[in-house]
Amino acid sequence: MPIESKAELSDGIDTEEFNSGFEDRSKSDWMARSDGRMEFKGESEPSFPEEEVLEEKIRDPLEPLNRIFFHINDRLYFWVLKPVASGYQKVFSKEVRIGVSNFFSNIATPIRLVNCVLQANLKGAATEALRFLINTPFGLFGFLDPAQKEFGLEKREEDLGQTFGVWGFGPAFYLEWPILGSSNLRDTLGYIGDLFLDPITYLPSTPIRIGLKTYEKVNETSLRLGEYEDFKKVVLDPYIAKREAYHQNRKYKIKERK
């Protein structure tokens, strides 16, 4: 995959450039809708709801560097992670691997619980606390998920990046990290903060910490083999598609919290 060399050092959200094609239309062609959005009512073209035309794009001043890391991550996946995860997948059944995934997720409860509290989401915090209190003793230390299966208590995927978002901080700009993948400035700071809430951080030896994190990554990948390949099949520029998907998904998660 070619790495685009042309840097786009835009210093703002470039919706203006993006929408320049609509500029010639007179203001009266835009009508306010009941929900406050604007809708195009002109004769020349059918209407576009406003949020699609003026969608906020994420700034990407480090695009050339990000693309290099994207390329490295892409190779890492195909040359290292995928072969290892495929071998692992052949040895352990899906039930076991989902159990391992649940176990790591159960350990990481403090991250989700504290962030629910920081977002003043007490229902979410209660859900996370209950999930931990049910799954640890009755679900083999979190390998099983009776809280979800028996009580319909869904996990609340909250993290500090989202909390900052709820507090009103924007993503600043996009970042692609080696190994860690898609992020932005806000979520990177959040990730670092979340490390303090992650019990694995407090294990005494560094090789054990890194080993556990690596194992978790291999286990997660073994449950998602083929997804990245499928994604690459449907997109024309995987870097941009991944960047936009990350940005939209994060905005959605911040907005949809309950």
Binding site: F18, N19, S20, E52, K123, V234, V235, A245, E256
Partner: protein, 197 residues
């Protein structure tokens, strides 16, 4: 334990918003998904030699509900008006091929355990329908369909999966390719994609 159950029941009730009735967009979308699910679960169409027939049946059902031109137009956005009618036709065709290739694989591969309707909004000719799709995987997938009313029909012109809008995502990619190279280059890349499944 019964106390916990009561507590949880309370939490669940607290968070529940069940629509008392469903409007036209959801009704029509539901007809389409029900038809697709019926085809997928039809034992007569399960054998490998029937795979092609089954796919065509599904495509016909999906075709009735999806407005490919509207999707293509929104994905090209400001570049759409600069296209000749022939270019538009070619683009719609390629775009449809690309989407069908991908999403048909997904539709056929997944075990659709349940589709739960989570509510709809109607604003003039625009509508959204939210659904939660339960597959064999752990977490349900949240999908929002966007529909536009044309005559008596509500037609899908975009959908977003976990907040990622299909139209938005393609529009950004298409725009970058056109701006950095050309429209021709975009068509070239689309053709390569569609020809290699």
């Amino acid at each position: 334990m019964s106390l916990i159950r009561l507590w949880i029941l309370f939490l669940l009730l607290f968070g529940m918003t069940t629509p008392l009735f469903s409007g036209e967009p959801q009704e029509q979308l539901q007809q389409t998904t029900d038809k697709v699910l019926a085809i997928l679960s039809d034992p007569n169409l399960k054998s490998p030699e029937k795979a092609k027939e089954r796919r065509e049946l599904i495509l016909r059902v999906v075709d009735e509900r999806f407005d490919w031109e509207e999707m293509a137009r929104r994905c090209l956005a400001r570049h759409w008006v600069q296209r000749t009618p022939e270019e538009k036709r070619e683009f719609i065709h390629l775009f449809k091929e690309l989407l069908q290739q991908v999403y048909m694989d997904k539709v056929e591969a997944y075990s659709w355990n349940k589709i739960q309707y989570e509510g709809e909004t109607i604003d003039g000719n625009y509508g959204t329908v939210k659904v939660k799709i339960f597959t064999s995987k752990e977490q349900p997938i949240r999908v929002e369909y966007r529909l536009l009313k044309k005559g008596p029909h509500w037609l899908v012109y975009d959908f977003s999966i976990e907040g990622i809008s299909m139209v938005n995502n393609y529009r950004t990619q298409f725009n970058e390719i056109i701006v950095k190279s050309s429209y021709r280059e975009l068509i070239k890349r689309l053709k390569t994609k569609v020809s290699q499944p």
